[in-house]
Structures are given as structure tokens and as C-alpha cells.
Amino acid sequence: MAPEVRHDEIQELLGAYALDAVSPEERTAVEAHLPDCPRCRSEVAEHLETAAALAGAGPAPEGVWDRIAAAIGDGAPTLDLDRARRERARRPWGWVSSAVAAAAIAAAVSLGVAVNETQQRLDEVEAGLQEPGLVRAAGEASVDPDARRITMVSEDRVLRVEAVVLPDGTGYLFRDNLEALPEGQTYQLWALGEGDPISAGVLGPNPGISAFTVDPGIAGLAITDEVAGGAVSPDLPPLVAGEVQNA
């Protein structure tokens, strides 16, 4: 391990650091210092803005965009919800894997015992493109080493929702490609465990980054689309589902 470098020595490096003009060892030392030092972080940010002003401009090369577009797929995946629903109806929760599936199939034949608790969760979860605090909290949770990640995917793997759950049961949906639902419908989040799926909240027609609370011991999460207001047990097979990944 490199010995700890003093604050003023780090400061002297910040200009060169912002221009990628330091040695790998110095870079490591600066980057070890920055998280604890708002003053140095702010100086680096200033140098980066200044450098950006010097960088110039010009037309964006078009051929490169074609290659980028090819690499990320042919445009945003579009989903025909009616078609998806018909297909899901033929194969209800069965495609959801292993432990998650066991819980989910049970739900299809039972209203469940947790109705009271479920009804309390039919409130709208905190959703928040406009809420910087939530966005930040979700961002921090997504890189928290103690957080467990859950990637929910649709059966055809087109839809994808990423979530994290912290050890205290606080969870965030921080990335999704769900389409906005028509009026009168809502997405609803379900916690999957040993019993029936438990509603973790109504997400609204166009979720974005959202916070929710679940039992930290859940096995997985799933999302259905329901009539607005939510359901106490899932009416339809899930659009997406995924298991908790071990940390």
C-alpha cells in the first residue's frame, strides 16, 4: 500500500490529475483522497469544466453513431402489451425460475393470507424523477456493497427492471425499460417469498426510479400490470420477475 499522501500534496496534483497527466500511483492517491475531501472534489470538477471549455467542438461523426446504434440494438425495444398479455396468459407464472416460481404459482390459486398487510401497501410508492433525494439514494443503494441486486426480466427477456434491496428492507427500482401504461392501469411490485406474493406497492403507470420496502428475506421481486389502484393478489402473470442475487 502506498503511504497516505498529505492533503496539500494532493492539491498540487489536482490540475494535472484533471488532465490525466499524473502517474498511475498519483492517480490512485488522488482518487483515495477525493471521497473524503469536498474541497478537492470541487477543485477537480472546476478543472474538468475548464478543460471541457478548451476541448472545442465540431460535428458529431455520423458513421460512429451508426456503430453505436448497432451495438445497443435496433432502437428501443417496443412492446405490444396486448400481445404480451396473450402470450403470458398461455404460460402463467411458470417461466419464473425455481424458488420464485414456487411462490408465484401458489399465488395463482390463493388470495393469500396477508391481505391486510397487502392493502396497506396499495398506496403509491415514492416515485421520483423529480426528486433528487430519491435519485441520489437509489444511486447510492445501487453501489452499496451490502445491497442485493435483483434483475427482473420478462420471459422473452425484452423487458428488464433492475432493483436493489438493502439489508434493512429498503429497496429501489433504479433502472427499467417498462413502457408507460394506458390510463386506468398501473404497474404493481410484488415481493416473492415462501408464501404468496405480497404487494410491495403500486408503481403507477410509468414508474421510473422508485423506493419501496420489503421483508429483507424476500426471494425475489416481480412486477405485474393491474387496473389502477392495484390488486391484493396478482391478476395476471408477471411482466417481469427475478430472484435476489447473493451479495
Binding site: 490540475g15 490525466d20 472546476e46 478543460a51 478548451l54 460512429v64 435519485v135 433504479f174 427499467d176
Partner: protein, 186 residues
Amino acid sequence: MEDVGDAALVLAVARYRTDGLAEVYRRHGGAVYALARRVTADPALAEEVVQEVFLALWRDPDRFDPDRGSLRSWLLAQAHGKSVDMVRSETSRKRREEREARLRAESGYDIEREVVDLTVAEGVREAVGTLREEERRAIELAYFGGHTYREVARLLGEPEGTVKARIRTGLRHVRVRLMGAGINGA
């Protein structure tokens, strides 16, 4: 998408919106390319850098933190880092030697001319014009030349500590001038 701010665009990217990424590219792809081309002195490598920068944003949009600066400066910092990696990598050694020979041959490798070439705003050019010659040289060799401050010191025959300090004070001077002219970095 055209009316949306950069931070909201990144959220759109985080939701796998390709039109969000396309708009980020439309706004900043040109600057990213211009910088990568300047540093690598190679259009093909520069295109590779541009591609990597935007694909990295697509794969990992939450690496951009809007609280830490503008999207443009972040994208350019990514592009600069990748460009520098390319010119410093073993496989590019020959290219780098050719490049250095060319830079040395251009005795007046000159940031003022660079920014004119790159059609940077008048205010930026003026701000750079107020730098002391030695500050300007240190910044241009580090930023556009892709050299470490130690290499810059060797190239200029100056002490390392001096060059390190000049880069920092030079950037600060430019910033003060830009702010005085009502231009922030973005």
C-alpha cells in the same frame, strides 16, 4: 427529447431509451470526437474512443453524477482518459513516437491555434490568450499532447514541480477569465 436537460437525458438513458442516448450524442458527440482526435492525432482511433465513451454511458449511466459537474465535461473527461490510454499503450508506441516527432517539428504547437481550429468560442480563445506562455505550453502538452506532467517537464526542460503547479494555476486563470466573460465551462 430536444428540450430536456442533460441530467434528465441520462435518466432516459438509464431507462434504456435509445432516443435519449441519441440526443446526448447529438449534443456532445462532436466535442468528444474533436478532443479524441486532437489527443490521438488519428481519426480512426478517435472514432473508437467516441464509440467507447457512448457505449460506456449506455451500459453504466449511473457513473455520471450530475452533482459533480456537467455531462459534457464528464463525457470529455472519459474521452480524454481513453485517448490518453490509447496513445500511451504499448501497441501505440510507434504511433506515439511519430506523433511526438511531429509535435516537436511543429515548433509553435500552439493552443491558441488549436482552439481556433476547433471553433471554440471567442471568449475561450481570449481566456487562453491571457495565459503566460509557460502555463499555456504546459497545459497544451498535457491536455492535447497526452503527456504526464513529468514528461512535459522533460520536454520543456523545467522542474517537475514547476510544471505541475503551472498546469494548476493555468487552469485556474482560464477559469477566472471564462467566468469574467460570462462563460462557464459547460
